[in-house]
């Protein structure tokens, strides 16, 4: 407890700088979307305009790329969530010496540069005369996004009491019913989080998509290609939309979390009251 105020000030200062460091660039990027300048910039300020948002809306290639991105992300979610969940359940219940090996293989994709994943996907499917395109992008993305889902589900399984499965079986449930009524409901939060994460990871993905897309466009690839052709503040307008969606999502999650926390606290308090009543009941 030496010099608490000095330490506190120092760490608060550092904390403030870090937050500013993380957030300011995003504000600048979003702000540039309103600057009436032909190049993305905030300085010098040429005046306020909304025309980049209008341009963005009328940019047909961008819109097409956006639609591609959206459907690609849906497909990736649809494959990676069941795959990651299945692998997590398998890893969690399989008792074998090969288990660590399987685990090692399944986490390898998140420790591999996207470029390598993209190229190997392309080479493998070429062998079956399947040429590049968004279908390959989907497979390439699934290979590492499923790992994220798997890790989330595995973490959730840590808090799962195997006794619940046995209790359900003992009460006469079939294996399918145990899965539907007991296991999946418990995993639900991790699966939803996994699905959202998978969607955003797919939307953001650049490296794998670049190598596997063939001639199809996605948002990130389209933006990436502007390094050569030149950027317009349309990108900033798009970036701002992404930021707003994220902020809205984050706020929604936080509100839900608080509500959940309040509910838990309330139930806990009610349980404590019942506990007291029980003891009094015996004494009486």
């Amino acid at each position: 407890m030496r010099k608490p105020t000095f330490t506190k000030t120092l760490s608060n200062g550092f904390l403030g700088l870090c937050i500013a460091y993380m957030v300011l660039p995003l504000i600048i990027m979003g702000g540039a979307g309103f600057n009436d300048s032909r190049f993305p910039s905030v300085y010098p300020w040429h005046g306020f305009t909304a025309r980049w948002f209008v341009d963005l809306w009328n940019d047909q290639p961008m819109l097409d790329a956006g639609i591609n991105t959206f459907f690609l992300a849906l497909v990736v979610v649809a494959i990676s969530v069941p795959t990651g969940t299945a692998a997590a359940l398998l890893l969690n219940s399989w008792q074998s010496k090969a288990r660590p090996v399987l685990f090692g293989i399944l986490i390898a994709p998140i420790l591999t540069p996207g470029v390598v994943v993209g190229i190997s996907t392309l080479l493998f499917w070429k062998e079956f005369n399947i040429s590049a395109g968004l279908h390959l992008s989907a497979l390439g993305q699934v290979s590492y996004i499923a790992t994220y889902v798997m890790l989330l589900v595995l973490a959730r399984l840590q808090s799962f009491d195997k006794g619940l499965e046995e209790a359900a079986l003992d009460l006469g449930a079939s294996h399918g019913q145990v899965m539907r009524r007991i296991v999946l409901p418990h995993l639900y939060p991790a699966i939803v989080l996994g699905a959202v994460l998978a969607f955003f990871q797919s939307v953001e993905n650049y490296n794998i998509t670049l190598f596997t897309r063939g001639s199809a466009q996605t948002l990130t690839v389209y933006i990436g290609s502007m390094v050569r052709t030149g950027f317009t503040p349309e990108i900033n307008a798009l970036g701002l939309l992404f930021i707003l969606i994220t902020v809205a999502g984050v706020i929604y999650v936080e509100l839900r979390r608080r509500r959940h926390e309040r509910r838990e606290l309330k139930l806990e308090a009610l349980a404590a009251i019942e506990e007291d009543k029980d003891l009094q009941g015996i004494a009486a």
Partner: protein
């Protein structure tokens, strides 16, 4: 409605470890049967074998005369109450209770009605729509019982379900469990390491140690006539003498303790004359009287000095030692007519031969006996190594 359970030569191996060793027992329909033993003695394994989560490595489990081999836990007429209760946290109270009916495809109205009925049976009316998290420990217990009863099991299996409750509530729930069992007349198989629970609730008790069934009998017989040293020292407290049994006449033997005392006591089953054995006598079977009083005829007796006197409520716990250094524990009833020796007093310690038992010195059970010493029991048989 209710069925008996028969275990014939059941063994369960986990790799090279034999958790259950050749257990045979016949549990009658409608009986409250307890398996009592220290942790790791195999009692939980037996329960899981009966419920179908574990297949026996050898032997036959049959329920109502039907061999259960190959029948999964979800198709056996048993309901298990787990040690941690395993209530489904994401379902409400009534959904928990009705789960067994739901998976059998019963319509919702019938499920709800059955749940309400069972909640009344376990004395928890009006809790149907509550969340599991808002129940007290005792209420959760009742919900778990109701959930198990909902599937109308022929046999109810209980795995130390009261161990999470605090003392007062646990004692209360004992009576209640017993009452529910009487009312429903379902066979109860109860697992516990708490001798008090087993003695208070059971029709019969099977005492287990190291995977083997040591004795199956009524609570009274388990306590009064233990079959061997393990049972004697696991159930209740004892003063123990190591020594050798000399000759035996009409069931009463002469016992030569290694301290040099010559004592007389009943001879338990399987103890051969002129073999090593132990003599057990319960603290409440030992009496103390002033040195000057007349000795009782035929009683074993020793002159002792009182080393501690502790008031325990319903009795007074007295420690004493004789001039050889052997220590005794004596429970003196809290009764004005009985003499309570003061500290440091000289006294005569006596116990009648028919209150003491010579039992086999079971080396095989010694390890677990010592391991359990500190668990769940306030004090334990005193071992006198000379």
């Amino acid at each position: 409605m209710s069925e008996g359970v028969e275990l014939s030569d059941v063994s369960v191996n986990f790799g090279s470890f034999r958790a259950v060793n050749n257990v045979s027992v016949s549990i009658k329909s409608g009986e409250f049967f307890s398996f009592l033993g220290p942790s790791g003695c195999g009692k939980t394994t037996i329960l899981r074998t009966v419920s179908g989560f574990i297949a026996p490595s050898a032997g036959v489990v049959s329920i109502g005369g039907q061999d259960m081999a190959g029948i999964g836990p979800n198709r056996r007429p048993t309901a298990l109450i787990f040690q941690n209760l395993a209530l489904f946290p994401l379902m409400s109270v009534w959904e928990n209770i009705a789960f067994g009916l739901e998976v059998r495809g019963a319509p919702k109205a019938a499920r709800r009605a059955k749940a309400e009925e069972l909640l009344r049976l376990v004395d928890l009316p009006g809790a149907a729509d509550k969340a599991i998290a808002q129940l007290s420990g005792g209420q959760k217990q009742r919900v778990a019982i109701a959930r198990a009863l909902a599937v109308e099991p022929k046999v109810m299996l209980l795995d130390e379900p009261l161990s999470a409750l605090d003392l007062k509530l646990r004692q209360h729930m004992r009576t209640e469990l017993r009452a529910i069992q009487k009312r429903t007349n379902i066979t109860f198989i109860y697992i516990t390491h708490d001798q008090g629970e087993a003695l208070a609730m059971s029709d019969r008790i099977g005492v287990m140690s190291q995977g083997k069934l040591q004795q199956v009998d009524t609570p009274k017989n388990i306590y009064e006539n233990p079959a061997n040293g393990f049972v004697a020292s696991f159930v209740g407290e004892n003063n123990v003498f190591k020594g050798k049994l000399e000759d035996v006449q009409a069931g009463v033997g002469t016992f030569l303790a290694y301290g040099g005392e010559v004592l007389r006591a009943r001879v338990g089953p399987g103890v051969k004359a002129y073999s090593e054995a132990k003599l057990y006598v319960r603290p409440e079977r030992v009496t103390l009287s002033p040195l000057g009083a007349t000795p009782r005829r035929g009683a074993n007796s020793a002159a002792v000095k009182i080393t501690s006197v502790a008031f325990e409520g319903n009795f007074i716990s007295v420690n004493a030692s004789d001039n050889r250094g052997r220590r005794y524990t004596v429970q003196v009833p809290n009764d004005a007519s009985v003499w309570v020796p003061p500290l440091d007093a000289e006294a005569r310690l006596e116990f009648d031969p028919d209150k003491a038992t010579v039992l086999q010195d079971e080396l095989a059970v010694r390890d677990s006996e010592q391991g359990e010493n500190t668990r769940g029991r306030q004090s334990f048989a005193l071992e006198f190594a000379q």
